[in-house]
Point group: C2
C-alpha cells in the first residue's frame, strides 16, 4: 500500500478543517466565531506538548507564574509602539454587573503590559538578574482575517510566553540563544524541521528591538510561524520603569526578551505529518502510541483477546502507551478510526499469530506491515516507534528543503509562487523600500533574513532585483498563514 | 518548643493576608482589585493539588475539555434562574478593536451556559450516556464584597468544574455519590476534615434542583465552602434542548450534575494547617518535602556539605522531593524561611552528625526534633512525613469537631457565635420563613442540613425555636467566607 497525500497537498485547507473535527481535536461549532472547544483527544496531545515545554522551562531555570487575563487600559497604554500594534485587535471589557467600569479593561492579547508593572516591583538589584518566568494561558485577538482552528483564532487558549530580564544586552542575547536551543529541542520532539528568520524592521513585534520567527512548511507551500523570540532591549523597561541597582550602586534599566509559542505547534504537527487517511502523530506526543486490534476467527475469540491483552500488559509495563480495541465492530473499521487519529503503530493479532507466537506491526507513516516474534515484542515496538519518529522528521525535512528556492530575479520568484513551491530566497540591498516593493510584486511576505546573520549575507556580486544595487542580504519571502 | 497559634487564631485575617505574600503564594499588587498574580511557589503547590484532581478524574472516566472563556449574551440568557443568579456579577465584553460587538459577550462566571449548547450537539443516544467531562479554567465574578486572595476574588484562575449528563435521576444521583467519593479522597490527600450540607432552597446554585456544599472550619470560626455538587435534574437540558434517543427510540431530556472546586482548596490548606511561623504543608503537596540545612563549623564545611548532598541524593532516589539549602546565610535565617514556606520536614546536619553517622529531623507541625541513624534515613523520613500528614489531619479534625455545637435555642446559638465557636446545629421545622428568621437573628448563614439526609433528622421531641412546631431537621448555621 502506498501512502496517499493527494487531498493533503491539493486541498489542504479542506483536508485540515475536516480533520480537526473528525479526529477529535476541536469542535468549531461553538457559537463565537474564531473560538473553538478543545475535545478530549486533541487536548491530550496538546498536554503532551506542554509537558515537554514545562520540563524544558524547568531545566533552564524559568519559574512558572500566572497573571490575570485582564489588563487595565492605563497599563496597556504605557508603551507607544505596543499599543499601536494591538489596539485594533483587543477585546474591551467595559461593564461589570449592571455598571460601567471606572477603568476599562482589555483581555490580554499578550502579557507584556500585564507583567511589566510587576517586574518593576520584583526586580530590585543585580542579584535578581537574570529574571526568568513563563506562563501558558489564554489570550485574545480580534482577528479580522479568515479564522482557522489552532492557526488563526480569536481565543488562543494555549499561549506560551516566557519573559526575562537581564543586566546587559549581551546577557539578553545569551537568553535568545537559550530560547533557540529550547525551541530546537521541542522541534525535534515534534519531528518538525523549521527555519529561523530575523524579521524585517516593518514586521517586528510591537515594541521589540528585533524579532526572530520560526517557520515550518505547510502542505500547500505556505509557511506557518510557530515560535517567536524578541529582544526588547530597554524599550519596555523605560516605559514600565524596571530598574535594578548595579554592584556599584547605580540604577540601570533592565534588558528584556520574550519567547512565544502556542497551539500552532499542534497545527504544524497535524498538517506536516498527515496524509489522506488522517493524522500521523509522532510517538513522543501520541496519547496512544500502539493500538492492538484482535482479529479473532470463530472459536478463537477468547485466545486472541487474551493474547492481545497479554501483549498490551507487557508493553504498558515497558512504559509504552497502549490501547486494546475490543469494540464489537469489524477490524477494517477499527483501522480506519485509528489511522484517522494518527496512532503511530497498530498491532494486529489473529489465531495464527497466537499459535505461531507472532504479531503483525503496521506502521502508520509508511503503511508497511512486518511480522515479528512475540518474544521480542517490546524491543520491536520500541525500534519501530523510533524509526517512525525519524522517518516523519526526514520526510518533513525533505519537503521543507525542496520548498526553499534560491532565485535572482522577481520573475523567477513569481514562477516559484505560481508553482506553490514555498519559500523564495532572493538577494536584497537591505532597504525597506525595496523589501516592501518585493512583497507587493510577489504578493508574499518577507519572513526576514536567515538567522544567525552569518547565513544571511548575499554571495558576492549579487544585485538587489529592485534597485540594482549591491545586495547585502538574502531575504526570504513566502505566502504565510 | 511549643507550637504558637496566637496570631493565627486571634488575628487570622491579618495573618492570612500577610502570609499569602511573604510565603510566595500570590502578589496582591496587580493593578486590578481582586485579581492577583500567582507566584512560582504558590503555583507549584496548586499544581500538585491539580495533578491529584486530574488523576481522580481520569480514574472515574471524566474526559478533559477546554471551552472558550467568552459566552454570547444570547446563550447566557437561556436558563432563567441562572441568569438571575449571575447577571449582577458578570463582566461584559462590549467592544473589539474600535468597534462595538453585534452580540455582547460575557466572561464566564461558570460554564453551564457555554457548554450546554454543545452538549445538545454531542449527545445523541443512550449509548453516549453517562457523559462526563471536566475542565480547570479561569472564571470571572464581579464581587462587590471585600476581596481576599484565593478566597473571594474577581478572577478565579483555577476553577475546576465537572459536568455530566445521565439517562435518569438515579444515575445522576450515583454521579453525586462518585463526586463525594472523589472529594473525600482529595480532602484526605490535603489532610482536610470537612462537612457536607444540603443547601436550603433559597441558597441553591442558580438553576439547580438541589445543591450540596463541602465546608471546612477556618481558624477564626468561620466556614469556607471548598466544594459543591449540584443535581440539575432536567432544568438545563430543557433550556438547552439536550435530548437523547432511548433504546426504544423515544427522545428524553438528560439529567445533569456538576461538581465544582477552586483555588479555595489551597486557601483551606494554608489557613487550617498554619501556625504563627507560617504555613505547614501536607507532604503530599509540598513542592519541597524535606529541606536539608548543613550547619558546618570551621574546617568542617566540605565534609558537612558533602554529607548533606549525599543524604539528599539518597532521598531523591527514593522519590522524596528534597532541597539542600546551601545559601551563605546563618542557619537560623534558613529555618525561618522554610518554616514560613511550610516545608514539612527539616534535616539539620553538623560535624557531629557526620562523625556519628546521624541526622536531626525537625518536624514543622510539632516543631519536635529527633536524632536518627544516617543508615535509616529514608525509612525515618518516610515514617515522619506520614506522621506529619496524619497529625495535621487529626489536629484539624479536633478543631473542626470542637467548633460544631448542638443547641436548642436562639440564645444558645448566639452565645456560640459570640465565642467564635464555628458551626451551630439547631432544630428546624423545615420552613423557609423560620430558616431566614434564624439567619437574621444569628447574623449567620444556613449552610443547610447534614448530608446524607439520614443524618439530618431532628431527634424526636425537638422543636423549631422560631415557630415552636415539631422540628424535622437539624440545620447548620455559620458565619462564612
Ligand atoms: Zn534594493
Ligand atoms: Zn419553624
Amino acid at each position: 500500500m502506498a501512502v496517499e497525500r493527494k487531498k493533503w497537498s491539493e486541498n489542504f485547507s479542506e483536508w485540515y478543517n475536516e480533520l480537526i473535527e473528525t479526529a477529535g481535536i476541536q469542535d468549531k461549532r461553538y457559537p463565537v466565531k474564531g473560538m473553538n472547544v478543545w475535545l478530549p483527544y486533541g487536548l491530550k496531545i496538546m498536554r503532551n506538548i506542554e509537558r515537554f515545554i514545562h520540563a524544558e522551562m524547568e531545566r533552564t531555570g524559568h519559574d512558572e507564574v500566572l497573571f490575570p487575563a485582564l489588563i487595565p487600559e492605563t497599563e496597556f497604554q504605557k508603551e507607544a509602539e505596543h499599543i499601536k500594534g494591538f489596539e485594533g485587535e483587543v477585546y474591551w471589557v467595559t461593564h461589570a454587573g449592571l455598571e460601567p467600569l471606572d477603568v476599562r479593561l482589555i483581555l490580554r492579547p499578550t502579557s507584556e503590559t500585564a507583567m511589566y508593572s510587576m517586574f518593576s516591583l520584583w526586580i530590585r538589584s543585580h542579584a535578581d538578574l537574570p529574571f526568568k518566568i513563563y506562563q501558558i494561558v489564554n489570550v485574545y485577538r480580534y482577528e479580522t482575517k479568515h479564522t482557522r482552528p489552532l492557526i488563526r483564532v480569536r481565543e488562543i487558549s494555549r499561549f506560551f510566553e516566557a519573559h526575562t530580564a537581564h543586566d546587559s544586552y549581551e546577557d539578553a542575547e545569551r537568553q535568545i540563544k537559550e530560547d533557540l536551543e529550547i525551541f530546537d529541542n521541542l522541534a525535534r520532539f515534534l519531528a518538525l524541521p523549521y527555519i529561523i528568520s530575523k524579521r524585517p524592521e516593518w514586521d517586528k513585534f510591537p515594541g521589540a528591538y528585533y524579532s526572530l520567527g520560526a517557520e515550518v512548511m505547510m502542505p500547500d507551500g505556505r509557511t506557518l510561524q510557530i515560535g517567536t523570540m524578541h529582544n526588547y532591549r530597554q524599550n519596555f523597561a523605560k516605559a514600565y520603569n524596571i530598574q535594578y541597582e548595579t554592584e556599584t550602586g547605580d540604577h540601570e534599566y533592565v534588558h528584556q526578551t520574550t519567547f512565544g509559542m502556542s497551539e500552532r505547534l499542534l497545527a504544524a504537527v497535524i498538517a506536516i505529518h498527515g496524509d489522506d487517511r488522517g493524522m500521523v502523530l509522532p510517538p513522543t506526543i501520541a496519547p496512544i502510541q500502539v493500538v492492538i486490534v484482535p482479529i479473532p476467527k470463530k472459536d478463537s475469540e477468547a485466545d486472541v483477546f487474551a493474547y492481545a491483552r497479554e501483549i498490551a500488559e507487557e508493553l504498558r509495563t515497558a512504559g509504552i502507551r497502549v490501547h486494546v480495541d475490543e469494540r464489537d465492530i469489524r477490524p477494517g473499521r477499527k483501522y480506519y478510526d485509528w489511522e484517522l487519529k494518527g496512532v503511530p503503530l497498530r498491532i494486529e493479532v489473529g489465531p495464527r499469530d497466537v499459535e505461531g507466537k507472532k504479531a503483525v506491526l503496521a506502521r502508520r507513516d509508511t503503511l508497511e506491515k512486518i511480522t515479528v516474534e512475540r518474544d521480542n515484542i517490546v524491543e520491536e515496538v520500541r525500534k519501530t516507534l523510533d524509526a517512525i519518529h525519524e522517518n516523519l522528521y526526514q520526510r518533513a525535512k525533505e519537503f521543507l528543503e525542496s520548498h526553499i528556492k534560491r532565485v535572482d530575479t522577481i520573475e523567477e520568484a513569481k514562477a516559484v509562487f505560481e508553482d506553490r513551491r514555498g519559500i523564495v530566497e532572493i538577494p536584497w540591498c537591505g532597504e525597506e523600500e525595496c523589501g516592501l516593493r518585493m512583497e507587493e510584486e510577489l504578493d508574499a511576505k518577507m519572513l526576514g533574513i536567515p538567522y544567525p546573520e552569518e547565513k544571511a549575507k548575499a554571495p558576492e556580486g549579487k544585485k538587489c532585483p529592485v534597485c540594482g544595487r549591491e545586495a547585502k542580504f538574502i531575504a526570504r519571502f513566502a505566502r504565510t498563514y
